[in-house]
């Protein structure tokens, strides 16, 4: 069973693995070899045929030996690896008792439940196993993903004598849950047993960094860098620890490690950020500016970078320069202070009304501050001066749409690109035409887009979606169905057409087919919990009450959580955020495992209430002194997820 997928690992290793993969190439670093294969997507190629043959053989083996755990497990793992969790669940259902006989079987079953959005059920399944650290860690991971942070941490706290591999997973889960102290508590005994284990060492170093124990982190990470000098992330951690340890004599060393890290991984914005800070401490202002500018370029969403770039500008040039103003304004925007950003930018705009960057940012800030009309005026005027500036046109369109000036936006579009064949512009045009309810024209544009790219599944899907959204005439629904089917022919694992086709089938009395498509949509995109409602309905129509109720229960759970998150976010996003409302949202985020958003909100809270001791204390409590290390992994997770789910 060499292709057996490993258990889901926390995102920490994803990051380490990805960086090391770049540095060492395929088959390189040991960390990478333990990674779960990323998104195996069956293709209609020879590989696909091989997979079919393999599946056939596994199925035959499982059928021939229904009580053989190995045969059943192999089939289940194969299906899970092929992202066919529902089919795998069918196998476990058929051999239910078998899948409670041993830990690997239980773990596999729990994985299936988790892969179909049944995270509490997966944790409960493993909760039945006593004194098995591996089960406890896996359960903690499910609970954390389900947003039950405290329950997850509780499981980890009660671990008894985990093996080093299990300890590693447990520590990483704790780090994911913003609990570096617990992570360290778990990983240190394992590291004492396996001093050369690079993963354990890295995890321990990271926990120490997050806890602000910088000299200890240096001691932990130095041997790791000696063993693997080409791994940029290790250099980055060590460089950071050296810089933060306060040992001025070793600042140059820190800079050297960080410089090497950015050479090895030139697309990692945070590495540049840390390098810039080291250079600031070394008073190498111009070099610091170069590094920080690169960081901002790579990670424009990092508030600290914007703030610190503004500070660097103030050092290397007068504080009223446009660059400094822009950086300060961006920083304020990232902290959800659009009015502050407008105040920063207004003087620069008055001084240099032709500065495109200022106009664009001022328009954005005005829009976010609730003054969309000003945003439109600014961009319209600027566009008259510089009609060829595509960025201005894009921003103007966005502002006009935000201001609900749809006809004006269409006018802008037509003026900027009359009768263009450009895909993006045509899509924009179609959306606008739909918004102003000029459906026949919108449809014509979508048909044109499809005809331009007949082999592009997305074009078929977009047309089908249009037909289902804007028309319910029977013949049009048939056309929509045909479009979805064509999209699936071109791209069999395209989530959107599966979901839409499932909906169509469910509402037109074809529950069997609906089940097939909706299950596929959900196993390809487990975060699409909305698919469970029509799936439940389809099961109901088929008389399968048990499965139906199961779907409704998961749907209901997700919907309730979604509602509450929406409410709390809304309170904080219409410019009426108060410290109390921010705290409520932060508590919700933390309780539901959304560590990254919690961090962002806490930072914003500190920004608006800089003297607030409670906010600062919470920031340190949850995220340690070096919280960007936490952010790094959150962002890695987000980008990985986006990549995985992209239809």
């Amino acid at each position: 069973m060499s292709e057996t997928p490993k258990r889901q690992r926390p995102l920490w290793l994803g990051f380490v693995g990805a960086v090391t993969a770049g540095a060492l190439g395929v088959g390189g670093f040991l960390l990478l070899s333990k990674q779960r294969p990323a998104n195996p997507v069956p293709r209609r190629t020879t590989a696909h045929e091989d997979a079919s043959a393999r599946e056939q053989s596994l199925r035959s083996a499982a059928q021939a030996a229904p009580s053989d755990p190995e045969a059943q497990l192999s089939l289940v793992r194969f299906l899970l690896q092929s992202r066919r969790a529902y089919e795998a669940l069918d196998v476990t259902r058929a051999a239910q008792r078998l899948f409670t006989e041993s830990l690997p079987l239980r773990l596999a079953h729990a994985d299936l439940l988790a892969a179909t959005g049944r995270l509490p059920e997966a944790a409960a399944e493993l909760g039945k196993v006593r004194d098995e650290p591996e089960a406890a860690v896996a359960a903690a991971g499910y609970l954390l993903r389900d947003g039950q942070r405290e329950a997850a941490l509780q499981r980890l706290r009660t671990l008894k004598d985990p093996r080093p591999e299990t300890a590693l997973l447990a520590a990483q889960t704790a780090l994911d849950a913003a609990a570096p102290e617990l992570a360290l508590e778990i990983v240190e005994p394992a590291l004492a047993v396996r001093r050369d284990d690079l993963e354990l060492r890295t995890t321990a170093g990271l926990a120490q960094l997050a806890l602000g124990r910088y000299p200890e982190a240096v001691n932990t990470l130095e041997p790791a860098v000696e063993r693997a000098p080409q791994v940029p992330v290790l250099r980055y951690y060590l460089g950071s620890a050296l810089r933060l340890s306060g040992n001025l004599k070793r600042l140059s060393e820190a800079e050297e490690h960080l410089r090497r890290a950015v050479e090895l991984a030139p697309r990692e914005g945070l590495f540049f950020y840390e390098l810039a800070l080291a250079r600031v401490q070394l008073r190498a202002w111009r070099e610091a500016r170069v590094a920080m500018e690169r960081c901002v370029e790579l990670m424009p969403e990092l508030p600290e970078a914007q703030r610190d770039l503004a500070r660097i500008y103030e050092r290397v040039s007068p504080p009223d320069t446009v660059g400094a103003g822009l950086a300060r304004a961006r920083h304020r925007l990232l902290l959800q202070d659009p009015r502050g950003a407008v105040a920063e930018l207004e003087p620069h705009h008055r001084k240099s009304p032709g500065e495109a960057k200022v106009v664009l940012l001022l328009a954005l800030a005005s829009h976010q501050a609730g003054n969309t009309d000003r945003s439109v005026v600014l961009l319209t005027r600027f566009r008259e001066r510089d009609p060829a500036n595509a960025e201005v046109v894009r921003e103007l369109l966005r502002a006009q749409r935000a201001a609900k000036s749809y006809e004006a936006a269409l006018h802008t579009l037509e003026k900027a690109a009359p009768d263009t064949g450009d895909t993006e512009i045509l899509k924009e045009k179609s959306e606008l035409l739909q918004t102003v309810q000029r459906y026949p024209e919108a449809e014509a544009v979508l048909v044109r887009l499809r005809d331009n790219e007949p082999e592009n599944a997305t074009r078929h899907f977009e047309l089908g979606l249009f037909l289902t959204l804007w028309s319910r005439r029977t013949d049009r629904m048939q056309a929509a169905e045909a479009a979805f089917r064509e999209a699936l022919r071109l791209q069999p694992d395209y989530v959107g057409p599966h979901y839409r086709l499932g909906l169509l089938c469910e509402s037109s009395g074809r529950p069997q087919e609906a089940v097939r498509h909706l299950r596929r949509a959900h196993e390809l995109a487990p975060e699409l919990w909305e698919a469970l409602r029509p799936l439940g309905r389809a099961y109901s129509r088929l008389g399968d009450t048990e499965r139906a109720n199961d779907c409704f229960a998961v749907f209901r759970r997700n919907q309730t959580r979604d509602e509450e998150r929406n409410r709390l976010e809304l309170l904080n996003t219409r410019g009426r955020a108060t410290p109390a409302s921010r705290r409520e949202l932060i508590r919700f985020y933390l309780a539901t495992g959304a560590v990254g958003p919690a961090l962002r909100e806490l930072e914003a809270l500190v920004h608006f209430d800089p003297t607030g001791r409670q906010s600062r204390a919470e920031l340190v409590r949850y995220f340690g002194r070096a919280r960007r290390f936490q952010r790094q992994f959150e962002e890695r997770l987000a980008s990985r997820s986006a990549g995985e789910r992209k239809p």
Partner: protein
Amino acid sequence: MTRKCVRLLLLLPLTAAWSGCRTAPRKVAPTSGAAAVSPTAPIRFEDVTAAAGIRFTHFTGADGRYLLPESIGGGGAFLDYDADGHLDLFLVNGASWPDGPKRHTPPALYRNRGDGTFEEVTKQAGLNHSLPGMGCAVGDFDNDGHDDLLVTCLGPNRLYRNLGNGRFQDVTAGSGLGTVPRWSWHTSAAWTDYDRDGLLDLFLCRYVSWSPEKDVPCRSKTGKRTYCGPEFYPGDRPVLYRNLGRGRFEDVSARTGIASAVGKGLGIVPVDENEDGWVDLAVANDMTPNFLFRNEAGKRFVEVGQESGLAVGESGRPRAGMGIDIADTRNDGRLSVAIGNFANEGLALFSQEGGLYSDQAGPAGLLPESLSRLTFGLMFLDADRDGWQDLFAFNGHVNPLVAEEGEEGEGATYRQSPLLFRNSRGQYTNVSATAGPAIQQPQVGRGCAWGDFDNNGHPDLLLCENGGPARLLRNTTDDAHHWLGIQLQGRSSNRNGYGAEVRLTAGGVTQRRWVRSGASYLSHSDSRALFGLGPQASVDRLEVRWPSGKTTVQEGIAADRYLQVREP
């Protein structure tokens, strides 16, 4: 395209908008029989408010602070409080905020003189005090033959016992209904005998967890103060009180499972939806999934909104449910539940099909017209007495600045005209334009009720505007159709006969009505079951299924009158 965009795209509601194309209805309703559509005159309503002597203007409590509760009241009722056979009117009013300038704003009770005019009897009836009222429910909770009155409030509700001498007595204090948190926000209510003990129990919707201190100060994009939506507040749990007799009620919400569901309840209609003899409860929630509480033999309720398909529409996303009503719109024995929603969401018409509800508003013809309206009051009534239940939607926005903000597209207004859809064999057509100026009058529509105040077999309308005048609209449709009104009198069942189903067969078509309180929004309609018969001058069969389980059957009944049916 980002993941978020794809997700949004995937989840766009199928019925979010409408191209004007229309698919054929799934099932074709019966085309033969007496209640099949016969040539009919246009439905018409005439505003008789002034002529009837109604002079009531609703007070929202507004004093410039834009506190959310100001935006959603109030309701009214058709009731026969003096049991003289003529429907009287009760109009709920709001009150000043405790810390604001004081005004005396009592509700109003108008007695129907029987000649088309009304006299205000609020003081004489003992109702002349200000309350932070929202809605009302009418029911004879003590089975003494006199309809009592519940006023739902922001905070403790008020229960008024009808003494039978033209006066009401506030019996809240000893009833067990008064002990609720200071700012519990009650909206629609319904009297219903959920445990079939012959005593009316009380179901109350609660909206959101709100207090003046928690009020979010929303502003428009131009910086003006306006009302926030419910999305800013956590939902609350509905309440069920069991009638213990002798004027005492017990909160059984937790015991029966009602309290396990958190929503933002605005509308309630009790109906034995699965026909097992126990009344179920359908609740319209604002921006949270609608509830369907299935009654398990009077012992407990199980919330099956999602399982039944009533919770959300095809998009899977909750809409802003407000008013609610039920009817057999196709006269085919299958229940439909109509729910009023926010602007751009359209009305919902959840119809039973294969044991599940699906939103058939589009195929039934309720879109696209209803997309432009924000509907609160919503009720089925057979306005032209052709045997097919028409649908009336009372509309009005919650944001006074909606027109100037343009948030909901061009043409969105605070005051909106009602919509009247005529039912033709299950297919609805918007006939508002021909229903007379009274129907085209823009208002800030909230509660509404129907009642035949002149006893001519035509359902008339009571419209309650938020912060505006109440209106009485007389149905002046010049049809030649026949009708039959049924007034129930329970014995072992509750005296109002709430929970009874009335089946009437004429000319081969069977119509159904459910006698109940609740429905629409914050309001109470005529407790009598009113049937249009089209050209049929008599009824072949009338069957009443009482909550007690008994059945009354009468045959060969002459039309064009009100018939009292007593429980055997």
